[in-house]
Amino acid sequence: MTKVYVSSVIPAPAADVWNVVRDFNGLPGWAPFVAESRIEQNAHADRIGCIRNFTLKDGGRIREKLLALSDYDLSCSYAILESPMPVENYVATLSLTPITDGNMTLAEWQAEFDCTPEREAALTRQIGGGVFQAAFTALKQRFGR
């Protein structure tokens, strides 16, 4: 089991950041690497069990299933069903925590997955840096003060 953990400080109130990231179908609006997204079966994007089917700007297609969504904890968990990445049992959680000092937000994104040992380092780098941190960097710029 490989774990990836990335966290960052977003210079905006947690409620504002949550408004952006809670939309399970909203990745194209803030994640710089996502081209377009849809929810399969015409389901609501906040219905637990719904599947988002999105295309990366590099052409890759990913299907992910919403496992948990909490407006109380400001967190969202999902599993990969299909992706170009050689990972199995991939489950990730994106969560926000208010930082009262300065009214900002701690954003955390973590994932656990299985992969072959020789691919672990590259996948950790790709997911942690190329996906999670890249998305946080975009969020920081979006809310930049």
Partner: protein, 511 residues
């Protein structure tokens, strides 16, 4: 029920912040509202259930109990047991999260309690601002000061740690720092590096690399370094305590500059001293395993600690454990003007013994007389065994403390009383060599050859000696003279003077 939640970002790696916050009894060292704190019953501060009893700067007294502690989640929960304020049912928790984007730390402090309705706003504000936000600011200041302080320290490389100590101590070799926080470039410190065993000239000042402290280590900025004869034995290779290239020295005082992730009970800024392997004290900075560090109270100066901790602890177990000196006993102390000799003379007298001292010169005789020796023998002028017999009307000494070695061993046996005890704890003049133990039967003599480590290599063994010595120091039962101070770069001169017996009292190196 009200909830208070405050959180902030501290610009320091999570290991550093957690090292400070996880110490349930350490808050008096960083929180401005807290004057002093102790754990009831002397329990460890990281035992769940421990109760901290603390006083506020304004005099109020509180007791709080540790309910949960997790190094995994870096989370700590506690409740209030007694307080001058009506914070009914107060349960609080602290938790940290790493901010990987920038290597900082998220710190949340939250609580729930039932205030009386008419004081609700006042108490919420007090908890949120005077306790939590004031605490944030204090830790931010503390770590900021540390970051602005000198560059980091040195641990001798693992290659120089003793793998097979003979003369002293089996202590675990510090593990390399595998959890080095990023951003620490190759740091260095100035240190005396021995590249080959030999004379004082092998003590050369060099710039050596220093990794960040391992989880079980602290990083110390030395303020004074003790020089002991055991350092000579390390330098010459007589004791297998220092692998080459290596940094000698087993005693120093200083200030903690950083703590490893697994450290509790010690914080950045604490004044500490140590007197134990592994070697490496002859350096401006070093990393050191924390278990045998001694915290220094304000009334113990750095120089005095560096000059006397090893000798004081040694004197404590020599006079109390190896042989329990009783009032009225005749105690003979060789090399009585030396660092440990001076302590033995004063302390044995304080214990009620009749003290006979031997020294090499009249100047040293005067020093020892001033310390309270009842009789002083200048052994270069007089056979000390005969003198002891004359002074004791033929009875001899009940116990003899002899670190001189080959030059005095035979005379010491001759100077002992029937059922006397010879404590041989050094060999400054050379190894004692082989002796036929049948000779001891003529007076039913006991010979002890104590090893420092066996009396001091665990916190449990060490603590009583440290307490006893510092108590004697505070009561002025033993006085530590102003040590002769040398610059760190002049360690060579210090060793030369020590070996030539040009010194009396303790020697320290000043970084």
């Amino acid at each position: 029920m009200v909830q208070v939640r405050q959180s902030t970002i501290i610009d320091a790696p999570i290991e550093e912040v957690w090292a400070i916050l996880r110490d349930f009894n350490g808050h008096d060292r960083w929180h401005p509202a807290i004057a002093s704190s102790e754990i009831d019953g002397g329990e460890p501060a990281d035992a769940v259930g421990a109760v901290r009893h603390f006083r506020l700067a304004d005099g109020g007294e509180l007791r709080e109990q540790l309910l949960a502690l997790s190094d995994k989640d870096r989370r700590l929960s506690y409740c209030l047991l007694e307080s001058p304020l009506p914070l009914m049912g107060y349960v609080a928790s602290i938790r940290l999260k790493p901010v990987t984007d920038g290597n900082a730390t998220f710190w949340e402090w939250r609580s729930e309690f039932h205030p009386p309705a008419h004081r609700r706003d006042e108490l919420v504000k007090l908890v949120a601002e005077d306790i939590y936000r004031a605490g944030f600011a204090a830790i931010r200041n503390l770590l900021g000061r540390r970051a602005a302080a000198t560059p980091a320290e040195a641990r001798p490389s693992p290659a120089i740690m003793p793998s097979r100590p003979t003369g002293v101590a089996a202590r675990p070799v510090p593990s390399p720092a595998i959890l080095a926080p990023s951003g620490n470039m190759a740091e260095t410190t100035r240190a005396i590096l021995v590249e080959r065993y030999g004379g004082p000239d092998v003590l050369q000042l060099k710039e050596i690399a220093l990794p960040p402290p391992a989880p079980d280590e602290v990083r110390i900025r030395h303020t004074a370094i003790g020089v002991n004869f055991i350092d000579v034995y390390c330098r010459t290779g007589f004791f297998d305590l220092m692998r080459l290239p290596g940094v000698p020295g087993m005693e120093a005082a200083g200030v903690i500059e950083a703590v490893g992730a697994a450290i509790s009970g010690l914080s950045v800024g604490d004044r500490v001293a140590y007197a134990c392997p592994p070697v490496g004290a002859y350096a401006e900075h070093r990393n050191m395993t924390a278990d045998l560090l001694v915290r220094l109270s304000d009334d113990i100066p750095d120089e005095a600690a560096a000059a006397s901790l090893l000798k004081g602890v040694s004197a404590s177990f020599l006079l109390h454990d190896v042989h329990a000196v009783r009032p009225g006993e005749v105690v003979l102390i060789h090399a009585a003007a030396g660092g440990i000799g001076q302590l033995l003379v004063q302390w044995a007298r304080h214990l009620g013994a009749t003290v006979i001292a031997t020294v090499s010169s009249d100047d040293k005789a005067r020093i020892v007389e001033r310390l309270g020796a009842h009789h002083v023998i200048v052994y270069s002028r007089e056979d000390f065994a005969e003198a002891v017999m004359r002074l004791t009307a033929g009875a001899g000494a009940n116990v003899i403390y002899d670190a001189v070695g080959v030059d005095t061993f035979a005379g010491s046996l001759a100077a002992l009383a029937v059922r006397g005890h010879l404590v041989s704890f050094g060999q400054a003049s050379g190894p004692v060599g082989s002796w036929d133990i049948d000779r001891l039967a003529s007076k039913s003599i006991t010979v002890s050859r104590p090893n420092y480590a066996h009396y001091t290599n665990t916190p449990e063994k060490l603590a009583p000696h440290v307490d006893r010595f510092f108590t004697a120091f505070r009561q002025r039962a033993v006085r530590v003279g102003q040590p002769a101070a040398y610059g760190l770069a002049n360690a060579e001169d210090a060793h030369r003077d020590l070996e030539a017996r040009r010194t009396s009292g303790a020697l320290v190196l000043m970084p």
